[in-house]
Symmetry: C2
Subunit: 340 residues, 2 copies
């Protein structure tokens, strides 16, 4: 098995569980700067593609026509946690389009944000489509469809012109034709493309610095950088590693998670893209691995690291409130990357 | 890395995530029947030890003194889901002892059973100690302490005579002195011992057929077999793989999960013990791996397999209600074990 032991979960300093995976750092010119584990295997980037899936919204002119705010554009790139702020913004955006929740193709779910879900249940309510972490992305698709006067019917299916357009944009960034790769269906019903992890790293680097892309595409990407940087809480939510990384680094690190252990980070100033896949699909390991790579690249200063401490070295607290373990970069890997 | 690829998670037939691990099948005489991956590495068996941790309750005479029912003994061995039936039985048992929820050392949590947790929240209530999946085990410890007239104070700490007794019983079954191995603290506050996976398999085999142990210990174990077999819903809960395996096989397979990807199964009639550790700690993979091993051993007939289908080959359903993937034994491993 050609994966690297990236993250260890300990209990009283004995390792209890181990997370293997692969990671790559690319530059916007298409070079691999560094890599660990097998980066040629196919991954489903899932929601890590969302910022790239929002390019159509700006590029098509839809964003200008509907005067989308920074918060709305950030939400279009988001896996939001379903907090009240997210839910309200999706609802008002849909309303401005003359649409309702019923137009969203994603299913009804409870918010991922635990407190928000509990409050909802305690007030006698249920999950709805607005709470789905993808509802901002879906609203983005509906906005572009209205602007381009394309049918909204089955906008989530791979045959729909908007999904075909999205695959073309993603292919441009990844440098391969994604239509020739296996395709799945995502949790929200949209197509879930695959690509080698390497191509996800390259696409992320080109999103970080789009100079090699067409000017229109580059301008759209710069607009998204600006929106996410100005409204980091709309791309994920309170307490999330994505929002806090974006906020603490003031947009120097634009991270995005994807389901099943994927996380990416675009570093606009340095023109770098990082892509990580935890092979077992674990959420708890991906951000620990990403933060270790960012530290290794010197992308975080001491103050930033202090602010991100709960994500860099999460502790495991038991039901009695006692710290009983931690999640940390694997010592063997740290040794390798710190001497590298 | 010396783990076996045990379980694959697919999306539209492309593998999205992979779960590695190790597994062992032992007999009660101390032989390894079969194994996959590294079985010498230390694991925290966590709640997989609970049926063995209930032996003191019967062996000490506490179970007889307090006339514990089959359901209460099954609950003492349980990681229950916090359904109303579990919560009520812990409460009435504590009441019979003259104790209350406040005597339990485990912390307050929401039930693990989603519907039960949602109902609780919808009715304006919060999680409590009774809902903790370990509350039956804790009530068992309190029962033995009362019976033996040992202090209840700090009964959860490793220094307490009951925890020392438990470690001796576990060491007897595992065939090693667990006090010489690293120790952690569990989610509920009790000591969390470690042992090589091999020893967990051996201990499980001796729990399956305790003939090589002392007569008193063997009788206590037979009593626990009977209780779990008669009340399978009290050792876990509705829809759980543990309760359904125990129920469907009428006690021929006594399974028990442990946190962080552990599962064991004792096969009393065959005197076999199976222990599985998914190296990344995943819950979704452990039961799929266990069921593949049970099938490989011919421990399940066609009717039983049909009844257990949702655990043998779980599907992944998205928010739109569409089946988009599955969790299955890795093809490479299946090939190995079916030709073995």
């Amino acid at each position: 098995m050609s994966y690297e032991l990236l993250v260890e979960v300990t209990r009283n300093s004995t390792v209890e569980s181990r997370h293997y995976g692969a990671a790559v750092v690319c530059d916007f010119k298409g070079n691999v700067v560094e890599s660990w584990g097998d980066i040629e295997s196919l991954v489903f980037p899932r929601s890590a593609l969302k910022p790239m899936l929002a390019i159509h919204l700006v590029e098509s002119g839809a964003s200008d026509q509907y005067a989308l705010s920074d918060a709305e554009l950030s939400l279009a790139c988001s896996s939001h946690q379903g907090e009240m702020m997210h839910q309200n913004l999706v609802a008002s955006w849909l309303n401005r389009l003359g649409l309702t929740e019923e137009h969203l193709a994603c299913g009804a779910v409870l918010p991922e944000h635990t407190e928000s879900a509990h409050e909802l249940l305690a007030s006698g309510q249920h999950g709805c489509r607005l709470h789905h972490n993808c509802s901002g992305k879906h609203t983005g698709f509906l906005t572009t469809a209205l602007h381009l006067d394309i049918t909204l019917d089955n906008y989530h299916l791979v045959e729909h012109p908007l999904q075909q357009l999205s695959l073309e944009i993603l292919s441009d960034l990844a440098g391969i034709n994604l239509k020739q790769y296996p395709m799945g269906i995502d949790g929200c019903g949209l197509p879930a493309p695959t690509m080698p992890l390497l191509q996800l790293g390259l696409a992320t680097a080109r999103f970080a610095n789009p100079r090699e892309l067409s000017d229109t595409r580059a301008q759209a990407i710069y607009r998204l950088h600006e929106a996410i940087t100005n409204e980091p809480l709309y791309i994920a939510g309170h307490g999330s590693v994505v929002s806090e990384l974006n906020e603490v680094t003031k947009g120097a690190v634009l991270a995005k998670t994807g389901a099943e252990g994927v996380v990416t980070a675009a570093l606009p100033e340095r023109g770098l893209g990082i892509a990580v896949k935890i092979v077992d699909g674990s959420s708890r390991a991906r951000s620990v691995a990403l933060l270790a790579i960012l530290d290794h690249l010197g992308a975080l200063n001491d103050e930033e690291k202090q602010q991100l401490q709960t994500h860099i070295a999460p502790t495991i607290v038991n039901s009695r409130g006692l710290t009983v373990g931690e999640i940390r970069p694997a010592k063997s890997w740290l040794k390798k990357i710190s001497s590298g």
